[in-house]
Symmetry: C2
Subunit: 339 residues, 2 copies
């Protein structure tokens, strides 16, 4: 139990001071090559495992980057987190992940918990936060990045895109193809702000052409998914049989909608068009394949990781710099589910 070897033990075994062992474990510090090699070998043979918890206290560098996402159950966020983790790992940084459940209250609690771990930076998915969350982050004096959104009033750095703008691409494509009777599926009032932004993009794009936007959103705060997309489609079909197409908050909803149409004996795209959002794998596979918007989830992760690596460069404390706002590309991908 108490026999876990410490740096001191390694030092004694190697006949050097603990300080030298400490240096040997860091790539940058100045130790002669053979001393380092010998120390590392001895450490390994003793079964010594570096203790980051102690290092952290004195050096004030935890090597953590805290990241909040609404939910793990979303391939797009998972891609972003994976890419970010990879980039950060190259710089010796660890991602500390937390889930907000699409809820600003939970986010506030989460942020406080994460800050207790003294992360060197914090990444928030989305741009909507409670005032206390913003206060906590300000106090923490660490770099903050908001992703997957372009907030009107950003906290500091931003790596994202306009969900409303991206959704507009879809609507305009359908309008150009002559479809004017369109319904929107998804985008709850609270919680999923990205979904709401997409809905807003749909509504404003329709209104810009003087068309009526039909919308069906879930009443709860969590985003619609496949099953609900199908249910919503059935409802829409009976409430507005004249609809020519369904614009969906995500590919998952679109897939649910597609299958529901097929079950009703409706052909897609001949009888009804269906468009998704996010370019999930499913949209490239389904039959027919889904028209969607690619939002480069991985690239958001990579860019955020690279930005943080730059800000947290080894030379001492975080570099002060002007807020960065990187807008990543979104691209309409037209496939067979729309004319």
């Amino acid at each position: 139990m108490g026999n876990t070897p410490k740096m001191k033990d390694v030092a004694e075994a190697a006949g050097v001071s603990p300080m030298t062992v400490s240096r040997a474990f860091r790539k940058d510090a100045s130790v002669s090559d053979d001393t380092r090699a010998r120390i590392l070998e001895i450490a390994q043979s003793l079964g010594y495992v570096f203790d980051a918890t102690a290092s952290t206290l004195r050096s004030k560098r935890t090597g953590f980057v805290a990241v909040t996402i609404p939910s793990l159950n979303n391939a797009n966020f998972a891609d972003t987190v994976t890419a970010m983790s990879e980039v950060l790992a190259e710089h010796g940084l660890q991602v500390l992940l937390g889930y907000t459940n699409y809820n600003m209250r939970d986010e506030e609690q989460l942020v406080e918990n994460l800050l207790r771990r003294r992360p060197e930076a914090l990444v928030l998915t989305g741009g909507n936060h409670t005032q206390r969350t913003r206060d906590l982050l300000k106090q923490a004096e660490i770099p903050v990045v908001e992703i997957w959104d372009v907030p009107v009033n950003p906290i500091e750095h931003v790596v994202g895109f306009s969900n409303a703008q991206a959704m507009k691409l879809v609507v305009e494509h359908l309008l150009n193809k002559g479809l004017t009777q369109l319904g929107f599926l998804g985008g709850a009032a609270s919680g999923d702000t990205r979904g709401s932004d997409r809905k807003a993009g749909f509504v404003s794009a329709m209104q810009a052409k003087g068309l009526e936007p039909h919308v069906l959103s879930p009443s709860h705060g969590t985003p619609m998914s496949m099953q609900e997309g199908g249910d919503a489609t059935i409802q829409m079909l009976s409430a507005y049989p004249q609809l020519q197409g369904f614009v969906c908050v995500s590919d998952l909803v679109a897939f649910g909608s597609l299958c529901a149409c097929q079950r009703q004996g409706l052909k897609v795209p001949q009888d009804r068009a269906v468009a998704g959002f996010g370019n999930f794998e499913i949209s490239a596979t389904s039959h027919p394949r889904l028209t969607t918007v690619d939002v480069s989830s991985r690239i958001i992760g990579e860019k955020t990781g690279a930005l943080l690596a730059r800000l947290l460069v080894r030379l001492g404390r975080p570099v002060n710099s002007d807020p960065v706002c990187e807008v990543v590309q979104t691209e309409l991908i037209v496939r067979q589910s729309t004319p």
Copy 2:
């Protein structure tokens, strides 16, 4: 910068000793209710955020549970991790997540990195590890749980199921329906051991009936997904046109296979049967819906979380107990993609 308030500052502001503040921040310790309330209020007004990194060093309790999963890009693992996080959060424990990329070497490196953070327990997805990984874990003297598998030679605790056994359910169902010409899609040689186990289950179930098992696996170490499932289906169809059904390593592959069949003008299940594995959301939505095996991903996470909470109960060091081996239920779900 240096003006971040510390416990001492809160103590002075409240006119008590730092120790009392420390106790006020822990639910269990003995402080009078009004003192605690006053301290917490003052702490809040000063913008004090508890420093877990310092607490950790002295108390030797990090509150971390390290978890390794092959990849975030899998809704099943995501469910497990989410459920586990929820349960552990109730006990003040934080999940520290790492990815092995379906690679034992990466896992070894990852485990070492995670151990540096001094987690109180470690959860490994799968039962295949390098010797050094096993040595590291033994040295660490913390509870270890292997999940999503029932290893022949477990390290310590297990919460999982037999992938081979579960796959056998699918095969036997198809055989009972009179289909004897079956092909298997997925399950690479290395890397994805759960996939390989499922493949093994398929092969042995076929051989038990004296039938020839046709198998098509990816050459690389990462699991097959939708796109590849479709490609593999096309290959199988031309190599073995007599096949009556495709048994797939996952619902994702099955969905790829289903769509590929449909593109070829083949009706499922009339012309070809398709079965998946994992009961992903897609299998309940697709048209036709997919026959699959439910493996209760969330329950694995919940049970693992509960087990760890029990082992790490607040009263001092980890409780010593005999290794637990919980086998969770798997259930065949017959839907329309098979006769």
